[in-house]
Structures are given as structure tokens and as C-alpha cells.
Symmetry: D3
Subunit: 318 residues, 6 copies
């Protein structure tokens, strides 16, 4: 166990959870460096959406909400801050007026993280965000993906634009960043623009689990499918918060009713303990649409779940 004192979160016994600046999970805000094992980064980019923007404020909201999280996992007992050096490395640079330029800037930022040897956990931002991250961590080495979402994000284009939150995983396949046979999409549902909104991934080899199937086979069987599809290879986790039922995620661009619960999501992420995990993101938290703060709270909790399994994976491979 590392347990490096420079990388410990605020101690709530000295600095109550309501006190001092808000960082991801109360970790120290530090520049990218080679001492960091896991870098949590904000990506305040939301110009890839065609309905409601606002995910640019996602990182700030998740930082605030994560004040509530403590340090040890109640089920697995994982204590991530003892296993790894974890830091909040701030936000990727974006250009608020130029979507295309922003994608490049984001990629450059995660390149720095990757080069430093840290595993990234990104807080978006809209669901365009995984593409520049995957370009960094999966270039010439495609990863498997556990994709929580109500939408497949595999359209070819939107309003003439090729890179946006509805095309991410099609681009990722085309660019050789993900191994389609090792992709599982969980929670697909919601009305569709056309008959084949979600078909492309299925044709490419993705395992698609709609909410209809989720309910039919049950969560335990879904856990088995996640395990089967991802196998032992390098695996990335991507969580569009609208994968959750809208009752848990009104603070997002396109809330979709009839999804799974936060509890379900927790159990699914916990099931990834033991996998070879190389990074993760949580996207589409647009806090201003949720005056209760619940969406950001859920994201903060899921961030902690991800951190625990990634820290465990990292510690075992260091």
C-alpha cells in the first residue's frame, strides 16, 4: 500500500466536508505528474449536443457533490487512496467557441496524463468526450468498453457533423480504438429518430442490452454478460448519466425514463473488480436542469465506484 500523504483527500475530521475548495472526491488539486497513478479530470465540453447543453458545468457540480463521499468502499472494502496516488488534475482545456478545436485540446490534455503514466477518469462534458480520450489510451491498442447509456451513440452524423455526442462509438470503432467484440452497451431505450438508431453497433459486433432485455434476463445475467464480453483484456468504462432512469438523472441533456437505478449501476460497476481497467468517464451531467442536485450526487457516487475498481486494478498491476 502506498498511502502517500501528499495524495490523501481532505481529512473530514479536520476540514469538515462542507469546508474548503471542492475537488473530485476531496483529492488534492495537483498538476499532472508522474507520481499520480489515477488522474481525475474535468472535461467541460458540451458543444457536441443537439438538444440541451449545460454539461460544461458537470465537473464543477460533481466536485461539489463529491464532498459527501468518504474514503472506503462499504462492500468491497477497497480503500483507493491507500492503494494509489489519486489527484484532481483540473479540467482539460477547451475552446468554448470552437467545437473542433476543443476536441484537439482535450486530446492533448489526456495525452499528457497518459504520458505521465496515470490512468484517467474523466468527468464530462457531453458524451463526445470519450473519443479524444480513447484516441490517447487506445491508439493502436483497441480496448473493450462497458458502456452505460440509454442511447447507442453510433449514428454516422448529426446535422452534417461527424464528431458529436451521438456518433462517438461509431467513430471509435472506425478509428480502431475499440474492439467491437468487447463492447457492451447497457440500458438502451427511448424513442428513436429512425428504425436503425441503435443497429450499427449490433452489426459491428457490440453486445446491446436494451432495457427490455435487461428486465427480461435480470441484473445477475447482465453481470455475467458484462464479464463474458469484456473478458481479460484492457477495458474502458463510459457512463452517460442518462443511462440511469430519468428519476435519478433529470440533470442531463436528454433524460430518458424507464432505465436502471443507481443501485443497479453501483452493482454493475462493482462487478468490474478484477478486470484490467484502463480508464473511465462519466458524462452528460448538466446540473442546472436538476435543482435537487441529485444527478450530480449520483455521478459523484458512481465516480467513487469507478475509482475503487480502477485503483484495485492499478494496484494489482503496478
Amino acid at each position: 500500500m502506498k498511502n502517500d500523504p501528499r495524495f490523501q483527500p481532505f481529512d473530514s475530521a479536520k476540514t469538515p466536508r462542507f469546508a474548503d475548495i471542492a475537488t473530485f472526491l476531496r483529492t488534492p488539486r495537483l498538476p499532472i505528474s508522474s507520481e499520480i497513478d489515477i488522474a481525475i479530470a474535468g472535461v467541460p465540453f458540451d458543444m457536441g449536443v443537439n438538444f440541451r447543453s449545460g454539461a460544461r458545468h458537470g465537473p464543477a457540480a460533481v466536485r461539489e457533490a463529491s464532498r459527501i463521499i468518504r474514503q472506503i468502499h462499504p462492500t468491497s472494502g477497497i480503500a483507493p487512496f491507500r492503494l494509489c496516488n489519486v489527484a484532481d488534475v483540473g479540467d482539460a482545456t477547451v475552446n468554448a467557441l470552437d467545437p473542433t478545436a476543443s476536441i484537439g485540446l482535450i486530446e492533448a490534455f489526456f495525452h499528457d496524463i497518459h504520458k505521465a503514466g496515470a490512468l484517467p477518469i474523466a468527468i464530462g462534458g457531453d458524451h463526445t468526450v470519450p473519443l479524444p480520450i480513447l484516441r490517447v489510451i487506445a491508439k493502436d491498442n483497441p480496448v473493450g468498453v462497458v458502456h452505460f447509456d440509454s442511447h447507442a451513440d453510433t449514428l454516422d452524423e448529426l446535422m452534417g457533423t461527424k464528431i458529436n455526442h451521438a456518433t462517438t462509438f461509431r467513430r471509435a470503432v472506425e478509428e480502431g480504438l475499440v474492439d467491437p467484440k468487447r463492447v457492451i452497451q447497457i440500458g438502451l431505450r427511448g424513442s428513436r429518430f429512425s428504425e436503425n438508431d441503435i443497429q450499427w453497433g449490433a452489426d459491428a459486433g457490440f453486445r446491446l442490452i436494451t432495457m427490455d432485455e435487461y428486465e427480461k434476463i435480470g441484473r445477475d445475467e447482465v453481470l455475467r454478460e458484462i464479464d463474458r464480453v469484456t473478458g481479460t483484456g484492457r477495458t474502458y468504462i463510459t457512463f452517460d448519466i442518462d443511462g440511469l432512469d430519468a428519476v435519478y438523472a433529470m440533470g442531463t441533456g436528454v433524460p430518458e425514463v424507464g432505465g436502471y437505478s443507481v443501485r443497479d449501476a453501483q452493482v454493475m460497476i462493482r462487478s468490474l473488480q478484477g478486470k484490467h481497467l484502463v480508464g473511465a468517464d462519466i458524462c452528460e451531467v448538466a446540473p442546472v436542469f436538476d435543482p435537487t442536485g441529485q444527478t450530480a450526487l449520483n455521478a459523484a457516487n458512481l465516480l467513487f465506484e469507478m475509482l475503487c475498481v480502477i485503483a484495485d486494478s492499478r494496484a494489482k498491476r503496478s
Copy 2:
């Protein structure tokens, strides 16, 4: 397939979902005419309530929330706007100062829809609304009713008033508008004014499913009961939004905890595919009590569910 271009919703590729006026499901706002197969109408009447008013703003809120809905059903594949001419015909006239006069005005408005040959889907307004609609579409030809609600709405009177949101289905039986043997009420629960708050319907022949029974027999058995009770006859759907658990429906006059989920409601409505459906309503959305907008979003989704099964029914019978 009709697919009449004059009756297509806004095309989101040209008019993004946040753009232009809000109509029900982005359908065109058109006057009542004989070209319309399904008329979606607001009924901003809320003077039939004895606790919190505010459902007069329900139609406006559901129009706004329905911007998010697309055009094809993810499970059944029904594409309602290709099967039928669907329009937003505006709101029924009401007199904001005279409950009694309003009932007459509403009835006259739905009479026009009915005479034009369109099937009505009404967005209330409080749950007094189904009565004037049933008076139009079920006069001398009683219908079966699938009634989603936490309350039975079969009292004899409230504060000396015979027509209000707590007496609707007793009046409808008395007036010969519904066939009590073909009525099923789903979701009854909540504390009671007296021992026999819900008894009248049971005595009249309604099939009552309390939340206790719902949980005991399970949703699949409830689907079978819906099918059995409604049979092959003409059937009307009425959805008091407080049938949903309060967690999904704070924006209503009398939210009741411990109900079913939106997912459950979706599955129940989907099960009506194949029935002979003659109209529907969603009532008691009082948006100002739900700052998250979730209640209206749920109503918009349920509206789309209803539209799909009704369009399917209508197309097969045209």
C-alpha cells in the same frame, strides 16, 4: 401507411428540439378537421380539485416536455406519424371562473373532434376531464376503461358537488358511459377519508388492483388482468399521473407515495397494443409543484406510449 407530409412533426434535423413553438410531440398545431385521425388536445381545467390546483398549466408543460420525444417506438417499432394523421388541435375552451360552464365547453370541444372523426387524446387538467370526453365518445355505447390512478374517483360527492375529480367514474357509470365489468383500476393506495373510499367501483363490477395486490401478483399478472377485463370491446385509457409513485410525480395535486414506476406504466400501456382503443387522457399534471420538470417529462413519455397503441389500433381499423 399515410405518412401525410402536412401532419408530420417538426423535423429535428432542421428544427432542433429546443426550437420553435411547443406543441404536443412536436405535431403541427391545426384546427379540428376531418383529415385528422388522432387529435391531441389540452384541457386546462383544474376547478374540480379539493387540494392543490395547478393542472390548468398541464397542457403547456407537457407540450414543452414533449420536445424530447422522437418518432419511433423503441420496443414495438410503431411509427405513429406514418400510420395516422396526428395533430395538436389546441386546448378545449374553459371558463376559468365557472366550473360548471367549463364542463359544457369541454364537452362541446370534444364533440367537434368526435364529429370530425378523430380519436381524442386529452392532456388535462384535473381528473374531472374524462367525464365530458366520455359523454361524447361513449354516449349510448359504453366503453371499457383502463384506469391508472392512486385514487378510485368513485365518491358520490365532494363538498356538496357532484362533478369533480373525485367522482368522475361513478358519474360515468351512472350515465351509462362505461361498462363497469370492463373497468380496471390500477394502483389504488394512499390513506382514506372513510372506510369505503374505493368500494363503490368494486361493488359496481370494476376490477380494482391496489398496490398491495399489484406487488403480490406481480406486473405480468396485472397485464393479464388488463387483457382479460378489457377484452375486445371499445376501450378508453385514463391516466391520473398520481398513479405513478410520488417520486415520479411530485407535480400533481395529490402525490401518493408507494406506487408503480414509469417503466411499469410504459409496459402496461404497451400491453394494450391490439386492443380496440377509442381515446385516452393524461390528467393531474400540475407542473409548478415539480421544479425538476420530471412529472411533465413522464407525462410526455406516456403520451407517446398512448399515441403509439392508439395509432396502431386506428390504422388497423381504418
Copy 3:
């Protein structure tokens, strides 16, 4: 049946639910007296928390929200106001500037209730509140406790303080107020400060049901465990509203995701019918964090559930 007219709630047929002052369940606001069987009291104390305060406004919010509750239980048929004289006895005196003094004042207030022969139902306030109540009703006569919560509240101290919302049940055991063998804690979950956050109670003999176990054994088995653990002895109910899933309880100091539903809580409380119940509390409702009002609504419903089983218990023992 008593059915004393002086102790009936407002009659909604004469005073609509939106009218007149807000009291708990619309019961009369009366001074403590020997004619009262069940005294509902607010305890606006929230200086025992280490994160978000605001539960001082819990009593006011629950009074307002309880306007919606009617008088007869829909499942059990219990009509508490016919069985017992129930009153809102106002709020325990607290000193808003002195936590220690407040605990003494609260104890004195409940001593008066106890001396008058009434059973207390307290609406907190934070979860320090049960301690002064138990000091009154369980002195030299330890009670069993059904404890709904996401946290065990059995730490030894917090920031050097021995009496606060995280230590209540450890103190209660140490002071001989509860019989640890007859304590069941339901819903434990959430990240932890240290490995043994919840261990002390288990070691003392408490039955701990984490959400993992809850889900694994199922609610019916939990009901059996509640029954087994509490047995036939005097039993107290304590409900930290954060026992509910955060989706039902954002209006609290430390909302925790992944818990049970209000429906689950209703069924669990209903299962206590037949037990020897000596008092209850609902704590940690901090309404200002929940702009939908849902948390207070849930608390009001759970208050009615508790009142019904306690009235039934009291009536059978009078």
C-alpha cells in the same frame, strides 16, 4: 373506540387540506396533558451534524406536508384518531446556540410527555434526537429498536464530541437504554470513514442488515428478521430519512444512494402491527435541500404509518 371529538384532526370537508395552520397530520395543537394517548412533537435540533444542517426546519416541513394525509389506513384499516387521543404538542424547547443545553431541554420536554402518560412520536431534528427520548422512556427498562438508516450511528465520537448524530446508538447501549440483542439496523450502506464504521453495533449484538444483504435475502425475509429480533418486548422505532434511497430523500444532511424505497419502508413499518410499541421518531428531514418537497412528503407518510401501528398497539394495551 375513543373517538374523542376534541382530538380529531381538521375535517377536510369543512377545512380543505390547504386551509388553516399546519399541524402534524392536521391534529389539534394542544399542550401536553394526561388526556393525550399519543403526542406528536417536533424537535428542531440540528447541531449534532458534521455536514449539512437544516433539520431544524424538519418539523415545520413535515407539518405542512402532512396536510395531504387522510385518516384511515388503506391496507390495515387502522383509524388512529378513533383509537387514541392524538395531538400535536408543539416542539421541544431547544437552545439554538448551545448543543449541550439543548439535549437537556429536549429530555425535559419528553419527560413531561412521558409523565403525562402519552407515547411520543418525534419529528427531528437530526439523529441525535432519539438519545434524550430514550433516556426518558427507556430509563432502567431498555427497549428494542427498529432502526432505519443508511448509517449505523455507533461511532464513539466525532470531532471530540460524544453526543451527536453519529454516536446515538452507542451511547444508548452504554447508558442501558436499549437492549442490543433487540436492535435491528436496516439499510446500512454508503462509503465509510474507516473500516469499522458500522462494526461496533454488530459486536454489541445488533442485527445489521446492509443494503447488500437486504437485496440478497429480500424484503420478506427482512420482515421476518424484524419480527424475530424485536420479539414481544417494548420496541421503539427510529427512522433516519436517509435510510431511504437518495431519490426519495434529497432533503437530508447526508443523502445516500442505493437504499430502499418508501414503499419498502411502508411495508416494513406495517409489519410492526402487533408489536409492543413505545415510541418513534423520524429524523434528518432538512427540507431546504429538496425543492420538490418530496422528502417531507415521504416523512409525513411514514409518520402516518408509525402512528397507525402505535395507535393500534396503544389501544390494545389501554
Copy 4:
């Protein structure tokens, strides 16, 4: 000075302002009796509006907001609770389903207050409320009226209805309840339905001060006009909260921009010290439209201002 201990508000040194039930200005909730000098009553009636209802919740919201008010006026030094016996006498009975019946019930309620010898201060409810009050206190003895409002409320009818919140002061003149020469309306503004929306009162002899004139002549001159118009006769104060600029009163049925401030209103009410005051009301607080709670807070402050000048008037005439 009376200073009757039975009529003192909660003592904040013992019961902090956040504690116990909410009553108007923390006065005791007492039945109407001949010992009361000034009776503060809620009138939760809002069926007289043609846009947004919700003022039925006005009394509850003002009770809550008035927790903040203390006991002595900072400018005049008036200590109303030492001068008069003041009580919260609850809410007038209304029939939530029958506007016409409600007007009769309200009249009967204020008749009881009047008969008991108390001066009424009413918290509406919509601005129909003054009519039944004036019918009681001004029958055969017309009063002068200081009327704060953005609308004149002197239409002949609305949607065929004669008694509603837009016709109150025309009816009051017609019924001989007010002396039109002693009526002053302050704050008129806002777009109009027709050219002569506000003309009737002017023709009848009212002194109308539009916001244009208010700004032109200045507040000091307005004070002189109030004094001149009302003179020494019996005078009633009626305050439609939308008289305030919308920035102070979003929580109302028809907020109108460009009005006066709360400070202005305070100074205007204070200027009535020395007048022969016989009653007052504050209407159209619809709290659910103002999530900040500011509208109700303003109403609570204005209530205290009114109470001070009325208590002073009453004490000097007892």
C-alpha cells in the same frame, strides 16, 4: 397597555423562530372571541382568478414567512402586542369546489369576527376576498380604501362572472360599501385588455395614481394624496401583492413589472398611522410561483406594518 400574556406571540428566547407551529406573526391560534382586538385570518380562496391560481396557499406561506418578524416596529416604536390582543383565528371556511358558496362562507366567517368586536386583517386568497369582508364591516357605513395594486379591479365582469378578483371594487361601490371619494388606488400599470380597464373608478371618484404619476410626483406627494383622500373617516387597507414590482412579487397570479418597492410600500403604510383604520387585507400571494420565498416574506413584513398602524388606531379608540 394591555399586554395580556394570553395573547403574546411565541417568545423567541424560548421557542426559536424556526420552532413550533407557524401562525401569523407567531401569535396564538385562538378561536374568535370577544377578547380579541385584532383578528388575523387566512382566506384560502383563489377561484376568482382568470390566469394563475395558487393564492389558496397564501395564508400558509405567510404564516411560515412571518416567523422572522419580531415584535416592535423599528421606526414608529409601536409594540402592537402590548397595545392590543392579537390572535391568529385560523382560516375562513371555503368550498374548494364552489366559488359562489365560498363567498358566502367567507362573509359569515368575518361576520363572526366583526360581531366579536375584533378588527380583521385578512391574508388571502385572491383579490375577490375584500368584497365579503367589506360587506361585513362596511354595510350601511361605507369606508375609505387605500388600495395598493397594479390593477384597478373595477371591471364589470369577467367571462360572464360578476364576482371575481377583477371586479371587487366596482361591486363594493355598487353595494355602497366604499365611499368612492375616499378611495385611492396606487400603482396602476401593466398592459390592458381594453382602453378603459381602469377608467370606471376614476369616473366614480376614485383617486388613481398610476406608476407614471407615482414616479412623476414622487413618493412624498403620494403620501400627501393618501392623507388627503382618506381624511379622518373609517379607512380600510387592501394590498394586492402585485402592486409591488414583480421583482418583489413573482409569487402571485399576475406579476407586473415596473412597480414600487417593498420599502415604498412600508413607508406608505406607515403614513397611515393616526388614521381611523377598520381592517386590512393582503391578497394574491401564490407562493408556489416564487421558489425564493421572497413574495411571502414581503407579505409577512407588510402584515406587520399593517398590524402596527391598526393596533395604534385601535388602542387610541378603545
Copy 5:
């Protein structure tokens, strides 16, 4: 007077203000045509901002809020719907994913309005919106501009981008669309990025009135300056809602404290009666940041003010 029945707003006596679809000022939603004198159009574009987006929802919010406005001006007596044919022509097409393309689409849309002979009133969208409008109506014929704003919007670029909400009026001068000698900017204030944030316009010949000067010279003198600067030439009105004090405009991207009131703005717009007005816009209403709805209400009122002076101008020149 035209008073064309096809162009009248909803009649509130028949369709209460809460009823039916929301259009600007309840005018009919009609396609662009040569019968329209004044076309009110939404422009849901907000990709020109560098802080908080959300103005894409401005048109929808202003439509909803404008339900409250009636038909005749209370001060001037102007009845715009009798003078001109006014219609809601829907929203300009935008590409939610491509800022540059959107500017072209907006320009094309206003070109259609202009070609049809109608004067445009635009509801943004962010303050990039005036540029494409001015390109249409002021090409080769520069206009004077009355510019209400807290920011000068005359930077040369922002993050490398030339067309955005901070550069609009510099571009407009450079493109020969505005006559800098006939531009007046009112309300400048707020902290600055650099010393010369607002200097460019002054150098170009604009008349700048900071809030310091506004307060010093007084509103009456400001009215004289507006009159003097604009003279008799063709004049355009542009209102960035953040020109208002933040207390009136929290629902905007960059609220700035210490500005003028809505009343002030009303009086300033009213002073334009008699000018040769050729169009107007209200921008930067981002409703989701203002849960009270006040910002949109203010915009709706200012829209009515603009409509009145423009209708008067148009009628006199037709």
C-alpha cells in the same frame, strides 16, 4: 387601423391566458408572408458565448412568459395589433452543432422576413444574433442602434473566434451595417478583462453611457441622449437582457449587478416612440438559470414595449 382578424392574438375571454400553445404575445404562429407587418421570431442560437450557454431556450421561455401580456399599452395607449399585422413566425433555423453554419442559416431566415416586407423583432439566443439580422436589414444602408447592455460587445475576438457575442458591434461597424455616430450603448459596467474592453466603440464614435454616468446624469438626460444620438434616421433596438440589474435578470449567461431596472428600460424604450424603427431584438435570456421565471417575464414585457413603438413607427410609415 388594420385590425385584421387573422392576425389577432388569442382572445383571453375565450382562451384564458394559461390555455393553448404559447406564441410570442399570443399572436398567431404563421409562416413568413407579405401580409405580415411585424414578424416576431425566435433565434435559439447560443454557441457564441464563453461562459454559460442556455439562451437557446430563450424563445420558448419568452413565448410562455408572454401569455401574461395584454393588448394595449397603459401609458401610450398604443394598440399594436390594431395598427399592424403581427405574427409569430417561429424560430430561425440553426445548426446546434455548428456555430458558423448557424450564422448563415439565421441570416437566410431574416432575409426571408425582410424580403416579405416585414420588420423583424428577434428573441435570441445570445448576443451574436443581431449581426446576421443587421446584415439583412442594414446592408448598404447603415442604421443607428440603441444598445441596452452591461457589456459593449466590441472586442476584436474571443479565443480566436471573430463572430461571437462579444464582438457583434465591432463586426457590424466593420461591415458597414451601423453608423457609429448613431450608436448609443446604455448600462455598461462590470469588471473587465482588460483596460480597454469598452474603448473600441467610443473610438469609433459610439455614445457610451456607463452606469456611473447613467446615475450621474439621470434617466431624463439619458432619454435626451438617446434622442440626440439616434436622430431621425433608421434605428434598430438591441437589448441584451444583462443590461438590466442582475436582480431582474439572473436567467442570463453573464448577469451583472448594479444596472438599471425594468421600469427604467420601459421608459427608455417608450421614449423611442416617434423614431424610425426598423427592427429589434432581445437576447441572452437563458431561462434555466432563473427558477423564478422573472427574467423571461421581463423580456416578455420589454418585447411588448418594443412592439408598441415599432408598430407605431410602421403604421405611420405604411
Copy 6:
């Protein structure tokens, strides 16, 4: 000019204002050190209040809101970050469960700042906060105080407690920390607990300006009084946010209507340019009570105003 690059705020051209962690005015979060000229610190203490707590969240909210502030003052041209090294030094340690201990911890924290040679600007926290700060910076060297507030905070005790938000300036005089002849309190108003709520300070030599006097003499005369009273000696600024009219400050423990505007406050603070300023605080921002975020925005703006005059003072004295 220093213009030390290590102490510059985030550059908005690279890190948009919505991006990265929130610190006070986007300054770097640094530990206390001798290189800092002005230390901005949070003090999340709110156990000194007797009504609504919540100011513990004030620092976090002001940090978030201050993202909007830029770097140069629009009126004075002061560029504080070029004149001084300014840093966010985090929050003073507090004990959330022990008011008395917290006061000591806060004092120790500001002692460190003082010892390092930095001037403190504190963001509370409730208005008890100035006492421990003054104990550090004014020990044996009493300061003058410009005190913005609606309450005098000179009671002797509250509920038996000597140190709380209502006694601060009486204690400060008694402890010899302030020179009563050089204290000016601006904005006093609001109802009172007793006749002499504000008298003690007047007797001690304070200059009290009630809102009545403020309005009577006018703001320019108030500026002269501020200047006269404070003179050339060391001066401290303390701003209880409830000094502002409640319309600008609903997010506070005890909002009081009828106060001055943010513009007024800005001008008053600006008038302190040239004074010998030794520190400042802004207290009583309780953000959860203001869903619009306006209160925190106002505080952020006032913080910038204070920083500018203090930086100017410091730079001239370094």
C-alpha cells in the same frame, strides 16, 4: 506593480470561466505564506445563529459565483492582481459540533495569516466571524469599522450565549478591538425584539445610519459620513449580506426587506479607496435559501469591490 505570475487568477482565455476548480475570484489555492499580500479565506462557521443556519456553505457558493468576475475594476481601473499577490488560502478550520472550539480555531487560522503579513478578506460563515479576526488584527490596536448590516449585532447575549452573530460588535468594543468612535453601521432596520436592540452601539459612540436616515440624507451624504467617521486610521470592513435589501439577499439567515441595493453597496465600498484598510469580511451568505444564486453572486461582486480598495491600500503602503 508586482504582477507575480504565480499569483494570477486562471486566465479565462485558456481556462473558460466555467472550467476547473472554483476558488475565490479564480485566484490560486495556496497555503498561507509570507509571499501573499492579501489572503482570501473561507470561514464555514454558522453555529452562532438563532434562526436559519446554512452560512457554512457560504464560502463554497461564493467561490463558485466568483467565476464570473474578471480582473479590472470598471470604475476605478484598479487591477488588484497586478498590485498585490492575492491567494485563496482555503477555509479556516472549524469544529462542526462545537461552537466554542470553532471560535478558537478560526482565531488561530487568522493568526497564521496575520503573522505571515497578509491582509485577510474572510468569507463567512455567520456574523460571529469578525470577532476572532479582529482579535488577531486589532489586538492592542483598535480599528475603525465600516459595518454594513440590517442589524446592529450589539446585544449582550442571546439565549445565554455571549459569543454569537448578534453580539459581535459589543464584544469587540468590550475587548478593545474597535474604536467605537470610528464605527459606522449602515442600513439598520427591521423589526426589533426590544426597544433598545440597536441602542448600545449608539451609546458607545458608533455612528448609526438606519435606512430611514439613509433615505432621508441620501447616499452622497452617507459617503461623507463614512469618510468622516473612519478618518485616516486603520479600518476594517464588515459586510453582513443582509444589509442588502432582501430582494438581493434571500440566501441569508435573516433577510430584511427595505434595504439598499448592490449598486449602493458598490458605491459605498468604492468610496473607501484611499483609506487605510486592514481587512474585511462578507458574512451570512446561506446559499441554499436562494435558488437563483443571486445572493452569492452579489457577495462575489462585493468581494471584488473590497479586494480592489484593499489592494490599492496595501500597494500604497508596501
